[in-house]
Symmetry: C2
Subunit: 123 residues, 2 copies
DNA sequence: CTCATTGTACGAGAACCGTCGTAGTTTGAC
DNA sequence: GTCAAACTACGACGGTTCTCGTACAATGAG
């Protein structure tokens, strides 16, 4: 049973961040988290990176505090996992948890986002 | 090219309702429309019915005016099609349009909703 | 015409959301 | 110890959402 949920014990010398356990993740919350262009952009970038990225790696046309807000929404609703590494905060999709809960959902949303982006690009 | 978009010409003796044309439907709007438990319930019921239902056929634990509100959100964001028939207002999913725009998306959401409902049912 | 059915329009209230700027914290490098 | 980098906390703002109740409109049946 793979899981993305961070272990309860706080890692060595880092601040800890609250994540919902997998069984508390609600579909409506996930959809709500994804239902914002900025957050969809974050999620697409993370999916494309297939690894972890810090917040600064994902450029958004909003202020830094707004970025913090969007990352927090994604984390609190179970879409991403965040952890500190030095001064940076690394982000990654909770792919395993989401796949276990809602198989195919995230892939479907990502595919839909790609299709729409391609359509919009072509005017 | 199949479409669920109602024809521009208003049908015989009925009030007309505004629907976004297929090319105006945005992924973030669809996700937002689905990101509410009441609306998710409406969509699941419509999907299970595989046809059209009027608003009264879908019982929700909210007032009638709140129902009207949720149906309108679904319509204005391109998820359902509504048309009057007598005093009733028939609702149906815009399956063809959504499938053309975002293949697999609605099915994925519906499957996720079923899975979650089954989990919650089993406590 | 009258009436019950079905849904709407409107206004209101409470809550929430996305955005920002400013001031602050934590960390690693020097 | 000092400093820059990365991110947060907090409060504020304007806008939107969800909910309701009341009053109203359209339709079909009798």
């Amino acid at each position: 049973m793979p899981t993305d949920t961070p272990s309860a014990a706080a890692p060595s010398g880092s601040r800890s961040l609250e994540h919902p356990p997998r069984e508390d993740i609600r579909l409506a919350d996930v959809l709500h988290a994804l239902a914002d262009p900025m957050r969809l952009c974050i999620v697409r970038t993370l999916a494309a990176a297939e690894g972890e990225l810090n917040c600064a790696d994902i450029e958004l046309p909003v202020s830094k505090s707004t970025c913090t807000h969007h990352f927090r929404v994604l984390r609190e609703h179970g879409v991403i996992q965040q952890l500190y590494r030095g001064t940076a905060k690394m982000n990654r999709l909770r792919t395993a948890d989401l796949e276990e809960l809602f198989p195919g959902l995230i892939d479907g949303v990502l595919r839909a986002a790609d299709l729409q982006a391609r359509r919009l690009e072509a005017e």
